[in-house]
């Protein structure tokens, strides 16, 4: 029995815990004076956290050699999309209440919403092509190329948070730092993969 077979359902439940806690708080009227703001924040927080956790799978896998971790990555990514949908619908329905002039203006004129909306849109093709069938249809190469969009999505998510905060940048900068490490890891891997730079190309050109 592979460990992953046990871990996967447990992780699934763990990913639902933030939503469950939100529900419990809502039931007990513990969402504070501005419940819609609280729901928007919590769902946004978990979208970003799950995105970063998803991005952490590959480095963790390479470092530990535990390849089975890859089997968890799709579920984590889809949960990030799940919370993103909750976050977006909270904004669309509870915050704006389908007030389309406000929605369009916000998306067009508020940079933090533009970038957040763009990141959400980019998540959709990733979610749609997450199935085994889709991986086969696209072929590994095309699938991998498409799913590299997750880097842009994560950057967009961090910018969304950074640009919406009134003054206290502590939390957004923390996410930015974690993202920088996760992206930096991938840059480092690529640099190593292509070996040392060509010595000939390094020689200064004599004019």
């Amino acid at each position: 029995m592979r460990a992953v077979t046990v871990i996967k359902p447990l992780l699934f439940l763990a990913c639902l815990v933030p939503l469950a806690l939100l529900g419990v708080d809502a039931w007990h009227d513990r969402l504070g004076a501005n419940p819609i703001e609280t729901i928007t924040h919590v769902t946004g927080d978990w979208t970003l956290r799950l995105l970063l956790i998803t991005l952490g799978v590959t480095p963790l896998r390479r470092l530990t050699g535990w390849n089975a971790l890859l089997r968890l990555r799709r579920m984590l990514g889809l949960f990030a999309f799940f919370y993103a949908c909750l976050h977006f619908s909270t904004w669309l329905v509870l915050d704006q209440f389908f007030y389309w002039p406000g929605i369009v203006e916000d998306i067009a004129e508020r940079p933090f919403i533009t970038v957040g909306f763009a990141s959400f849109l980019m998540l959709i093709p990733l979610a749609v092509t997450s199935t085994n069938g889709m991986v086969r249809r696209l072929g590994a190469k095309r699938w991998q190329a498409l799913h590299r969009l997750v880097y842009a999505i994560a950057i967009g998510g961090v910018l969304h948070f950074l640009w919406l905060v009134k003054k206290d940048l502590t939390e957004p900068l923390l996410y930015a730092a974690i993202l920088a490490v996760l992206l930096g890891y991938r840059v480092a891997v690529r640099v190593r993969k292509f070996g040392k730079p060509d010595a000939a190309a390094q020689r200064p050109i004599k004019l």
Binding site: A33, N34, I36, D95, Q96, F97, W163, L164, K167
Partner: protein, 310 residues
């Protein structure tokens, strides 16, 4: 100052019993943290204030529940999230407290706060409060008209602005250890704004002494401006001929101006000001120019480009 026919102001109305009951329920189920607020050393917490009934300046809209007014606060001196001030403001010592009246006045003086409060009769003023973050409340303040005090301070002919300063003591206000804003918090008004009958110094809400997290023991309330103008825990009132360098305008000059009049037509650079969420309501509502006090204050800004002087 000519006070025209008030728009939504009606004769005194009894506060909705549900609101009072809500307050009683809150007091009955107070947690230890809340109990700490009431037991602030030397404070007259939970003490009733003898205030004249609803004034003609009060709105008839229902007041926001007490527990929301006292648990959802922007008071960075106690942390940058909305819940921290209620949890952490118990370290503020509201007595003894002095307010220094300085600058362009005939007789500068350091007042003990209890003397200052007696300079004019206390009134209940039920005002809308609109935060720049696009949420709002209706708060039944207890306070004194600032104009009545200013007359007694006797500003000289050179006084054009009034500058207010908050206490600066990181030991009492732990949020001041962070550099999120330049401390102490400073705000200011033009002299005619300060003299306007709507402008008050508040010392209480819901008929009781101001809880610490709402800016005890004395704070400004300017209901037609964004909430950050209504500076809390005031220790100094200075009359000056130069425009005060206000904290939020210093911190982000593109986003926060000196006048900060509530204006749905002028967006914050990063979000719209056209609508607001009234705390406790589900749907957003349109924001009114001057927070609905246009009839009373618009003439102060006649001829001013309110996009430029935001």
């Amino acid at each position: 100052m000519l006070i025209r026919k008030p728009s939504d102001i009606r004769p005194a109305e009894i506060t909705d019993p549900a609101v009072y009951l809500g307050r009683r329920r809150f007091l009955a189920t107070a947690t230890a943290a809340a109990a700490g607020l009431w037991l602030a050393p030397g404070a007259m917490a939970a003490q009733k204030l003898d205030a004249a009934g609803n004034s003609r300046f009060s709105t008839a809209e229902p007041s926001t529940p007490y527990q929301d007014i006292t648990r959802y606060n922007n008071f960075y001196e106690f942390g940058t999230d909305k819940e921290s001030p209620a949890k952490r403001a118990h370290t503020l010592r509201t007595r003894p407290w002095t307010v220094a009246v300085e600058g362009e006045v005939k007789r500068p003086k350091v007042y003990d706060i209890d003397t200052l409060i007696k300079l004019a009769p206390l009134e209940e003023r039920i005002y809308r409060l609109r935060c720049v973050e696009a949420w709002s409340m209706v708060v039944p303040w207890v306070g004194l008209p600032l104009g009545a005090l200013i007359k007694q301070f006797q500003p000289t002919g050179r006084a054009k602005y009034v500058e207010f300063t908050t206490l600066h003591d990181p030991e009492q206000m732990p949020g001041q250890r962070s550099g999120v804003l330049d401390w102490p918090y400073v705000e200011g008004l033009r002299l005619d704004e300060a003299m306007h009958p709507l402008t008050i110094l508040a010392v209480g809400l819901y008929g009781e002494v101001l809880p610490n997290q709402n800016g005890a023991p004395i704070r400004l309330v300017v209901p037609w401006k964004y909430g950050f103008k209504s500076i809390k825990s005031i220790v100094r009132i200075r009359f000056t001929d130069t425009l005060p360098a206000t904290t939020w305008a210093l911190s982000a000059p593109r986003e926060y101006g000196f006048y900060a009049n509530v204006n749905p037509a002028v967006s914050h650079p990063r979000w719209s000001q056209a609508r607001e969420r009234r705390i406790g309501e589900f749907l957003k509502r349109p924001t009114l120019p001057f927070n609905g006090y246009g009839e009373q204050v618009a003439e102060l800004y006649r001829g001013m480009d309110l996009k430029k002087f935001f």
